[in-house]
Structure formats: C-alpha cells, structure tokens
C-alpha cells in the first residue's frame, strides 16, 4: 500500500459508485464555503438566544442548592405576588402524569418530585415580564429541604447501606445490573486472559483517572416557546436532535406530537451537551400556562448546571506482552460516574467497554465497564463519548509497556496495531480500512519543531515562547522538551442495534429558468458544516448548482442526532439516497419526453451533470430545464445504515458498531519542571477520513477536536467537591483553551474508502478528540519522567507540591 494510501484511495480499491466524477461546480470533494457563513459574520444569523416575540415573557429556573435532599415544602406565594410575575410552577403544576423524561431511561423529573438528586436540579419555574424580575421572584420561592446522605463515588454508591437513588427502576437494564445504583454494566469476555497472561514476559498494570469535562459551548441553552391557537406550541430551539426532543416533550405537555412544532434556531456549539433536554419543556409549560410566548436563556453560571457533562472515570488496566513486543492479553475495569440521572450513560458504557482495547489486536481480554448513579452532576454525551476515557488509559498503558520492554513506543504500537480484518473484542470483524500503523508512521515522519524554539538568534530567551510566557517565570532553566504519541479508535453512528436512520426530503424544479434543488432535513447544524456537505451532495447527485437548504424542523422526518460523528454519513446518506430517487424520476420523465429522439435514453447509463442529462460517455442528451418543464419532483425518504446488534449482556459479543474511525496525534511539549507549567508546542494529527467531502471542513473538525483534547489534558475540569457540589461554574474557574494555548496543528489526511458508507466516507468529528489528550500527557511524561495517571494534569502533579 505505502505511499498510494495518501490522497485519494488507491486505484482498484474504490467501487465506481463511490468515486464517480462530477463536473458540477460545488459538489463533493470541493472546499465549498458555509451557506450560513455570511450571516454568521455580519451578525444576522439568529441563534436561539437572539429570538424575540412581541409580548413575550422571560422564564427562570429555580435550582437546588443541595446535591441530595427531600423537599418538605415549597411556598411560592411571595414570588407570585411580585409585580410582573405571570406564573410560578412546581412539580404539582405539571399537566399530566407523565412527569419525567430521558434519552435512554425516563428517569429525569421535569421539576423535582419531592427529592432533589443533584446540585442544580430544577425545582420551580417563574415567568415574568423581565428576566431580572423572574430571577428575583425565583429567589422569593421558599423551599424547605431536608438533606439526605450523599452518594459521590463507587464506594458510597455500592455500600451496603447506600441510599438507592432510583428505587423503582423499570428500564431495560434494571434486570441485570448487579446493584440498583449501577445504571448499566457491560462485560466483554473474549479468549482466555488468565491463560494468555502466562505467555507474558512483562505485565503492566495501571490505574487512571479522567476528570469531568464540560462541553462549554459558547451559546448558552436557550429557546422561545410560542403558544398556538390550536392549543399546541411552536418551539424555536438550539438542539442536536429535534425529534428526540419532541418525543420527550410532547407527553409531558399532554399534547400529540403534531401539536408540538419545533424549528431549529441557530446553535452556538453543542459537542454532546445539547443531546439532552435543558429548558425545552420548561419554556413550553410556562407558555401554555400563561398563554404568552416565553423565552428562556441560561446565563453562564446556570449553563454549567443546565447540561450533562463528560463522565469522569476511574480505569484499571492490566496488559501483558512478550519480549518481542506482542501484547498477550488485556484486562480492564472502567467505572464511569453517571451522576444523578441516566442520560446516555448506557450507550457510553457500551462504547467504553467495546472500545477499551483501542486500535490493537488483543485476542484474550476481560473487560468490565459500568456507570454509576450518584448525586454528582448528571453526565452523558460529549464528543468522544466513552472512547475518550478509555483511550487515555490504554494509550498510557502502551507507553508503559513499551518502556518496560525497552521498545520505541511508536514501533510497539505499530507491532500490535489492528488493520482491516482484525477482530474487535466484541467479535466484530473490522471490515473496512483500519490504517493504524500508517497513521502512526505519518505523524512520526512529520518534521519536528526546532529544539529550543524559544531561543532567539542572539542566544537570549524569548519568554513568549516558554512555559509561563509573559509571566516571565523562566528563561529556559528547568525547561524540558517531551514528545508523545497516541492513537485512538471511535465508533461512528448509533450502535448496539439502535434503529438509526435519517430522513431527507428533496425537491427539484425549475425556478427562474434554472434547475433548483431544495434539501429539507431535520439535521441540526451545530457548526459542523452539515448543511455545507448536504448542498454539495445535492449538486453532485443532481447536477445542479443552485441548492436551497430548507430550515430544519419537525415537518420532515427525523434526521437523528448531530452526534456520534454520524451526520455526514447518515443525513448525507439520506440526501444522496433521496437525490438518487429524484434522478430516477428525472430520467423517467426524460425518456417519456425525449426517449424517441436518441437511443442512448434507453441504452446508456445516464447521469445528471452541469444542468444536463448526460450519458456515461459525456454525451449531453437534454437540459434539465427542458426535462422538468413545470414539474416539481418532490421525494422524502428515510435512509438507514446497515443494522447492528446489541452486545451480549454477559460476553459482550455482537456486531455492535457501524463503522470505526481512527486518528493519531504527536504532541510536542515544553515543561517548566520547577513550576509545573506546560506549553504545548505542536499537536500533529493524522486521520483516515474515508473520503473528504469538504477538505476545509475536515481540517476544521480535526483542529477543533484536537483543541478540546488538549483542554482535557492540561486545563479543563469541573471540580465536584466530596459533598457533590460544583465548585467552578464560570469561565474564570473552568478554563478552556484560548488562541494562546493552541499550538500549531499540522494535519495529514488519508482517504481510504469504506465501501459500506456513502462515497466511502468516514465520520470524522470525534476521533481526534480521543488521541489528543493522551499524546499531550505522554509528552509531559517524556519530559518529566513522572507517571501522570490523571487528567487534567495540573502544575502540582508535575512539581509534586
């Protein structure tokens, strides 16, 4: 394979259906610009927090100051009496018996039902004519709490006398979890790890810890609910999945789904944090109660309580290897803190367990992953989804093994790297390219940034380029460079037998003498560039240059979530599929109208290109405008990826994932070992993307994922105290990378087609989030010689003070 792998796929590998050329401008493979780009740079793109309605009220949420308490009484009289207040709602005011919601388990109260289970849980709602009035009225609600014992870690959750946080579970995992405070547990047993361990010349164990990361999207949770004359509601909202919201909202309101009409507003980032509901039901309840439009916008403090976070995790690993560097076996136990409510914890457990080995061939494994119910903040989806935590641990183990064997850490990884045809611990065969060794080769081959890049031509120290920067804490003394590598594996799309589909409605018609395609999906554009590629796909498939992207809403079928790196694959696939059906209709019409004039209508393979029907030997047969005439071709179709199956609850075996995605990083850091300050000099990334539908967007996704991984490595953590209270809900105390923290990010992209996927593409948004973090930590270890088993790495972990 070698050098052929770079750039486009090697000849002969790619089925013609994946690589058909298109001369239509703005099609797939081009770096077309965002259709919403101009609106975004001139300030006219309407985010959910920008919405306004005449006569609207503002909603505010009163939240629990306690992590676990019984509510003994609520007195709303003073709040109701305040001028400007239109409504105050508590659990008792909910309109139906359906008072809970949830992504996987219906376990989350819309408003606290006698008990609060985490710091910041919603207790009451206020609607008032001004946001400050609403806030002050909420402060006048008198809630009496009787604190309950707090469950904050595995020991307190599974103790004999542990309070059971959800005593009446009826979810589909309730029957086989070993303890009611375990949300879900997924073991995977393959081969015989104990037997294989006997072949090992070295055994390496380690305990690792990942802190609680936050999505910290800049556009806070917000939306506008407008009561409609038919008794229904129109909700304008920033979310990742309109139809999943709808399914959860409608029963609580007691409305049929068709009376809850949702439209996507501008989304100011998501990263998993908008997969669960936040203020959606609350705004609708207040709007229905008051008969007025209600807007809710969280402030930054509240946003830290308003969405789920990345699961903090404790991971125990054991690996063995032979002297010649072959891994013999792996055992691991991964404990994820799911917090007070399930959110997507079951799926995160499935990912953590099934991806716990990493992109390596290990035949004998014993794996256990579980998520706990605790009184900590609820955790759920964040970019990387269970694979991030595991990757930090297994990549730390790889370095430890290599060191023990006296081998180069990259060579050791390459020796054990999986490739196409490898068997996952779940028994699933990896049936598309898995160029793990090649990705490692690519990043290792990139030129390293010059040593002592902080030294000026005259030999002085440029403090700007040193750890600590302008704090002028060092002129190079005590500063050590380190280089680290990591590689990861992420699944793409929804797994474990989930009926994952997307829907696209495409129209083709002549407008103003030109053929125009309209693409209507419910896909949430959250900044990933999904609408850009949907338009590109329509151009390629229909041979038109004019594509209108219809706003996303619930008037069209579900697109599934903008998560799991799945939208280009799934909604892109749905758009492609609908366009193909449209093309058939066009050709049918063409044959009817013009078939008698040219034999090629009957015999040739026909394509739509550049506004024309052409034969596969490029002979034009008719203009689309003439074929279409006054006809509007309008097709809405669902599209599914190949089915997956649930993991066996005991052995973890099963064809669980649709597709895998691989990325590798090389980190170069400089560490001031005396002060524990780290400067990341460069984070090089190589990723296989299958097919880059939009190379510019691909790079952007790799940059963003890399930066968020850097954040987890050295900066980002929601600190939850032993009493389960959140300590740092602000951007002063929860640090996300700035432009100064962000190093150069050279990117190498491979395009090895996955024959199962549209155009051979691979979901790309998450994989680089995985390997970025362990690469940075490996580089800090290389610089300092310290074990560093916890992220984020803080200065005191380096100085030992």
């Amino acid at each position: 394979m070698g050098t052929q792998m770079r750039g486009t796929a090697a000849p002969g590998r790619t089925p013609t259906s994946l690589s058909r050329r298109s001369r239509t401008k703005g099609g797939i493979g081009e770096s077309t610009l965002r259709p919403d780009g101009t609106l975004k740079v001139i300030g006219e793109f309407a985010y959910s927090s920008d919405l306004w309605h005449e006569d609207m009220l503002w909603g505010f949420t009163l939240r629990s100051p306690h992590p676990h308490a019984r509510i003994t009484s609520i007195d709303i009289s003073k709040a109701l009496a305040q001028a400007g207040v239109h409504a105050v709602l508590t659990h008792d005011d909910l309109p139906t018996a359906h008072t809970q919601y949830g992504l996987e388990y219906t376990d989350t109260p819309v408003l606290a039902d006698g008990v609060v289970r985490h710091h910041g849980e919603p207790v009451a709602l206020v609607a008032a004519d001004h946001p400050e009035t609403a806030r002050r009225a909420a402060a006048k609600i008198k809630v009496d709490y009787e604190p309950l014992p707090v469950v904050h870690d595995e020991a307190s959750a599974l103790a004999d006398d542990a309070p059971i946080l959800h005593p009446n579970r009826d979810d589909h995992h309730a029957g086989h979890v070993p303890h009611p405070n375990i949300v879900h547990r997924q073991p995977i047993i393959r081969g015989n790890a104990a037997e294989a361990a006997k072949r090992a010349d070295v055994i390496v164990t380690g305990e690792y810890e990942v802190g609680m990361q936050d999505q910290a999207f800049l556009g806070p949770e917000s939306g506008l609910a407008v009561p409609a004359e038919d008794g229904g509601i129109d909700l304008y909202i920033a979310t990742q999945w309109l139809h999943s919201d709808l399914r959860q909202i409608a029963p609580v309101l007691g409305l049929p789904e068709e009376k809850v009409r949702m439209t996507l507003s501008g989304v100011g980032g998501a990263f998993g944090g908008r997969e669960d509901l936040s203020m959606q039901i609350h705004a609708c309840l207040l709007a229905l109660r008051t008969g007025k439009p209600v807007k809710i916008v969280y402030n930054r403090f509240e946003s830290f309580f308003g969405h789920v976070h990345r699961h903090p995790a404790k991971l125990w690993y054991e690996h063995g290897a032979t002297k010649d560097g072959k891994i013999t076996h792996m055992k691991c136990r991964i404990v994820l803190d799911g917090g007070a409510y399930a959110s997507s914890s079951p799926a995160v457990v499935g990912n953590a367990s099934s991806l716990s080995v990493g992109p390596y061939v290990v035949d004998d494994v014993e794996i256990e992953a579980l998520a706990l119910y605790t009184n900590n903040p609820p955790c759920g989806a964040m970019r990387g989804f269970g694979a991030v935590q595991a990757c930090f641990a297994y990549e730390s183990q790889m370095d430890k093994l290599a060191e023990k064997l006296g081998m180069d850490p990259v060579e050791f990884r390459q020796k054990n790297a999986m490739s196409q045809g490898a068997i996952m611990p779940t028994g699933q065969i990896v049936d598309s390219p898995a160029p793990v060794a090649e990705l490692l080769r690519l990043i290792k081959a990139m030129p390293l940034p010059p040593e002592k890049q902080w030294e000026t031509a005259r030999g002085a120290a440029d403090v700007r380029a040193l750890p600590g920067g302008l704090s002028n804490t060092t002129h190079g003394e005590g500063v050590v460079r380190g280089v680290g590598y990591a590689v990861g594996i992420k699944n793409v799309g929804f797994s474990e037998g989930f009926d994952d589909y997307s829907t696209a409605r495409v129209q083709l018609q002549v407008i103003g003498g030109e053929p125009v395609a309209t693409v209507h999906t419910a896909m949430a554009e959250v900044g990933q560039g999904g609408i850009t590629v949907n338009a590109q796909i329509a151009r390629t498939e229909l041979g038109v240059t004019q594509v209108v992207i219809h706003p996303a809403d619930t008037q069209v079928g579900s697109a599934g979530s903008t998560s799991a790196s799945r939208q280009t694959y799934m909604t892109g696939g749905a758009v492609k599929n609908a366009c193909e059906a449209i093309r058939e209709k066009v050709l049918e019409t063409g044959r009817r109208k013009f078939g008698t004039y040219h034999p090629a209508w009957a015999t040739a393979e026909l394509l739509l290109e550049d506004g024309k029907v052409v034969t596969d030997s490029d002979e034009p047969l008719a203009d689309l405008v003439d074929v279409l005439g006054d006809e509007v071709i309008d097709i809405e179709l669902q599209w599914r990826h190949r089915p997956t199956e649930a993991f066996d609850p005991v052995t973890g075996q099963g064809f669980g994932h649709v597709q895998y995605s691989f990325a590798a990083h090389r980190a170069v850091v400089e560490v001031d070992t005396e002060l524990g300050l780290v400067k990341v000099i460069e984070l090089a990334c190589a990723q296989d993307v299958g097919k880059a539908l939009n190379p510019l967007s691909v790079k952007g996704q790799i940059h963003g994922a890399t930066v968020q991984g850097l954040g987890l490595a050295v900066m980002e953590e929601i600190i939850v105290a032993k009493d389960a209270k959140v300590c740092n809900p602000s951007f002063t105390d929860y640090l996300i990378p700035t432009i100064l923290d962000t190093p150069a990010i050279p990117v190498e992209v491979l395009e090895l087609a996955d024959e199962h996927a549209p155009y051979g593409l691979r979901g790309i948004g998450e994989a680089p989030t995985l390997s970025s973090t362990p690469a940075v930590v490996a580089a800090i270890r290389a610089a300092t010689g310290l074990p560093l088993v916890r992220v984020p790495v803080r200065p005191e972990h380096i100085t030992g003070t």
Binding site: S31, L33, R34, D36, G37, T38, K40, V41, I42, G43, E44, F45, A46, Y47, S49, D50, W52, Q215, A216, F217, L218, G219, P220, G266, V267, G268, G269, A270, F271, V297, N299, R300, R464, A465, L470, V526, G527, Q528, G529, L696, S697, K699, G700, H703, G704, A705, T706, V707, Q708, S730, F731, T732, I736, P737, T738, I739, L740, T742, A744, I745
Partner: protein, 177 residues
Amino acid sequence: MGRTAVTLEINAQSCAFDLDNRTTLLDALREHLGLTGTKKGCDHGQCGACTVLVDGMRMNSCLLLAVALDGAQIITVEGLSSDAALHPVQQAFIDHDAFQCGYCTPGQICSAIGAITEAASGWPSAVTPQERPLGPVPLTAPEIRERMSGNLCRCGAYVNIVNAVTEAAEAVGEAAR
C-alpha cells in the same frame, strides 16, 4: 430614580435611550435596539463574545454601563459591512473558515479589527519586543495570538482565526496605503 437619558451613536446612527442605570451596553444593544449580532457568552468579561468598538477601541460590552457612554461612537458587527461589500476581516473569516458554530465570531471580528488598528497605530502588545523601530507593529502570528487571546472559540477554530486575521491585516494595511 435609577434611570438616565443617554444618547449613543450606534453604527453611525444617533440613538436616544432612557435606561435603567444598571443596563449594560450589551443589553442596550440586544434588548433595547434589537441588535442581536453582539453575543452574550458569559456576561462577565471572560469570553469576549460581546466585543464591540467604542470610539474605535475594542471593548467587552457586557462590562460597560450604557449610561456612562453618553456621546460615544459604538460600532457593532452589524455596522461593519456595507450593502456592497463585507469588511475585509469578515471576508477573511469566511474565506479561511475561521469559525464553526459562529457564536464567538462577531466578537472575534470586532476584536480583530481593534487589534489591527492598535497594531497599525504602533500600540505594542505584551509580546511586542521592547527594542523596535517606531511605527506600526507587524501582526505576526505570535502578535495575533496575544492580541486575540481574550476571545474564546469553543469550536477550536483558532488555527484558521490566526490565518484569517493575518490576511485581513494585510488587506486593511494595503487599503490604508
């Protein structure tokens, strides 16, 4: 009590308000004028999403009380482009894909315009070498990173932001010549 009449020149239009004294410039723009292009990311001066130009200087509008700005000239993201053309910084952000979700973008763009103006007028940043010829400070990548470090971008589009500001600074410089 507690209210003050104030006149601001916003995007070259004189705007008279009678405002609660506690109203920030950001809320005056967003809630009183309907100019929602300026974003509220934290309301505490931590994220930079609300950056606007006040008398040509970039500032966090969430940290300014509107009544203290009587007579000031405010330019928001809505006031940067004409019908005919985008501001070179806006164009550069599009061309370099210097944003994803776009929520921080109005603040990034106003901040970049402020940074370019400051550098052109010879205003040093913390990373500008002390011994240097008088005159404009060249906007190298380290200068841009330092000067743009008050604007968070959670999508992590920073690499492209540096490229966009680099190109825009050249375009603005050429236009000024």
